[in-house]
């Protein structure tokens, strides 16, 4: 009976509905969805049938589908009428928010877009910030957004969703140091500056380290052309460089800490050719991997700083004067004996002295070369730290024979020596020494003594003439080149002052002239007639 009654009602309502005019727009969507009891999107007779099948029943609130269209707790004719009023209408399904990308709570940049996905195409979408574009089940919201916290409310026909984000600024590349296109070393680092802190930075080569607005790319890089692509969350920048090796100091010759001379050169070796070399002292010449620094340097402590494009090296030296030969005694080319020594004089103390013959002894600025030497021609090469010289000598047996008197104007025992004449003594060889003319009482007469080769001359001095018929002594000692000495002792008597003209003798002068004469005298006694 219940079924028959409902069927009649349904038919009646269906008839009414077919003749009635309803506007869906005038009815809220919730009412329409309630009328679509079987939720098939259409309000039709099937919904009426479903109500009729539960007609008169009390339904639970959560029963689905619910034939209690008006929600009054029972299935009755009002429910049938409500459905009948909308028979033939289409009911949109409810649109639910599914997801959002990027997810809520994440960080955005000003120009990012936010895409919401719904289970059905949403309608009447509005957003609190930005612009919403609907495409099927998606709604894309584009900014630009204001930097800071973003509370974005999306509203559509069936609901509202509030999304929270943090909006950060877009990081734009500003500059690179060193700038793209230049030459860098394999060990250099490249610093990129952005207007805002970049995120998610990656580099095609090397290692990227981000610090605030800067990103530092460190190598080591491979020698050659370097194409460096930096990618960050907001962009990509490609920089081009030519990477060259880092020039490192290898060694110095002479090595630091040693002694050099004022004119020495210092050579530094590098592992690659250095560029832009400067030095604190001297002049630097670069050739290949080497730098040669020449002075002259000032004697004393030398702190030498060498700077090149990749570094600096400080070298310490003690600079000593260059030692130059001054003289040799005896000089080269002369005759020496087997026992002689040769003394070389330098302007400064020589170092590391060696000799090809004999023994070298250094004392201050002098070097003494001692033998014995072999008789014959001697070629003697002396080498010291700053030079080398060769001397030649003729070596003979040593002279052991003392010089002897071989002649002269006065001999020992002479009694008629001219008191006014220069006295000359001749020796067997060249001599030197001290010879004086003295009285018998050993008083120096004061004559001038000169040595000339193998001769000794005693020259009269005005006012110091010798007395006639007086005994004098030439005394002293002479030596030859080998230092062989000879004592000199020549005693002589000067001649009389008598001139060979007979002397006039008188009683008055007889005692003086005759008896006092040092010469024997013959007196002629005569008469003048």
């Amino acid at each position: 009976m219940k079924t028959l009654t409902c069927s009649l009602l349904i038919l009646s309502l269906a008839f009414l509905a077919s003749t009635a005019s309803y506007a869906q727009e005038e009815t809220d969507i919730e009412t329409l969805r309630a009328a679509d009891v079987n939720s098939d999107g259409m309000i039709n007779v099937l919904d009426l049938v479903l109500i009729a099948s539960h007609f008169g029943e009390i339904v639970a609130e959560d029963q689905t589908p619910s034939p209690d269209v008006n929600g009054d707790g029972s299935v009755n004719v009002l429910d049938l009428v409500l459905v009948a009023n909308h028979l033939g209408e289409t009911v949109r399904p409810p649109v639910a928010f599914v997801s959002v990308d990027p997810e809520i709570g994440s960080e955005l940049v000003m120009n990012d877009s936010i895409t919401l996905t719904f289970d059905n195409p949403p309608a009447d979408v509005t957003v609190s910030t930005g612009t919403a574009t609907i495409d099927e089940n998606s709604v894309t919201i584009t900014g630009p957004f204001t930097v800071g916290d973003l509370e974005l409310t999306v509203t559509w026909t069936d609901g509202t969703e509030t999304l929270s984000y943090t909006v950060r600024p877009v990081a734009a590349f500003v500059s690179a140091e060193p700038e793209s296109g230049v030459v860098i070393t394999t060990e250099d680092s490249i610093t990129l500056t952005f207007d805002h802190p970049p995120q998610d930075v990656t580099t095609s080569t090397g290692t990227a380290t981000t610090d605030e607005n800067s990103v530092t790319i460190t190598g080591p890089f491979t020698v050659g052309d370097l194409e460096l692509t930096i990618t960050w969350a907001d962009g990509t920048e490609t920089l081009s460089y030519t990477a060259r090796p880092v020039v490192a100091f290898v060694s110095a010759d002479p090595e630091s800490g040693t002694e050099i001379t004022t004119n020495d050169a210092i050579t530094l070796a590098f592992d690659h050719p250095p560029a832009d070399v400067t030095v604190s002292n001297g002049v630097a010449i670069t050739e290949g991997n080497s730098v040669t620094i020449t002075g002259p340097f000032t004697p004393g402590d030398l702190e030498l700083t060498v700077t090149w494009e990749d570094g600096a090296e400080t070298l310490s030296y003690t600079v000593r004067p260059l030692v130059a030969f001054v003289s040799a005694e005896p000089e080269s080319g002369v005759e020496i004996t087997t026992e002689d020594s040769i003394t070389l004089t330098f302007d400064n103390p020589p170092q590391d002295v060696t000799t090809t013959t004999g023994t070298a002894t250094t004392d201050g600025d002098s070097v003494t070369i001692t033998g014995p030497f072999t008789p014959g021609e001697l070629e003697l090469t002396i080498t010291w730290s700053d030079g080398s010289l060769t001397f030649t000598y003729t070596v003979v047996a040593p002279d052991t024979e003392a010089p002897s008197i071989t002649g002269g104007t006065v001999s020992d025992g002479d009694t008629d020596v001219d008191p006014s004449a220069t006295i000359e003594i001749v020796f067997s060889e060249d001599v030197r020494g001290l010879v004086t003319l003295r009285t018998e009482a050993d008083d120096n007469v004061g004559w001038i003594t000169t040595f000339d080769g193998n001769k000794v001359m005693l020259t009269p001095v005005p006012g110091k003439e010798l007395d006639p018929e007086t005994t004098y002594v030439i005394t002293g000692k002479v030596r030859d080149a080998a230092n062989n000495g000879t004592e000199i002792n020549i005693t002589f008597t000067t001649a009389s002052a008598y001139d060979g003209i007979p002397i006039e003798v008188t009683d008055a002068n007889f005692d003086t002239v005759v008896l006092g004469s040092k010469l024997p005298i013959v007196v002629e006694f005569y008469t003048d007639w």
Binding site: I501, E504, V522, V523, F525, Y526
Partner: protein, 71 residues
């Protein structure tokens, strides 16, 4: 004084000297040495008479007489 004596004096000046004394004008000395004849030649050495000879004497003999007396 004969010229030869002057020659002897000149030629032997380094060995002995020659003097001449006028007997008439220097009687004291003449008497002292007992001069009676002339010419007389008296040879002195170191203040002492060491010889004498008289008369005209050849040059060589004169010198020999002197040298013999003084040596």
């Amino acid at each position: 004084m004969v010229p030869v004596v002057a020659e002897i004096a000149s030629e032997n000046k380094n060995t002995f000297a020659v003097g001449k004394l006028n007997r008439e004008e220097n009687l004291e000395t003449s008497r002292k040495f007992g001069i009676r004849y002339q010419p007389i030649y008296i040879i002195f050495k170191d203040g002492e008479e060491v010889g004498r000879f008289a008369g005209e004497t050849p040059k060589n003999e004169f010198v020999q007489n002197v040298l013999k007396a003084i040596n």
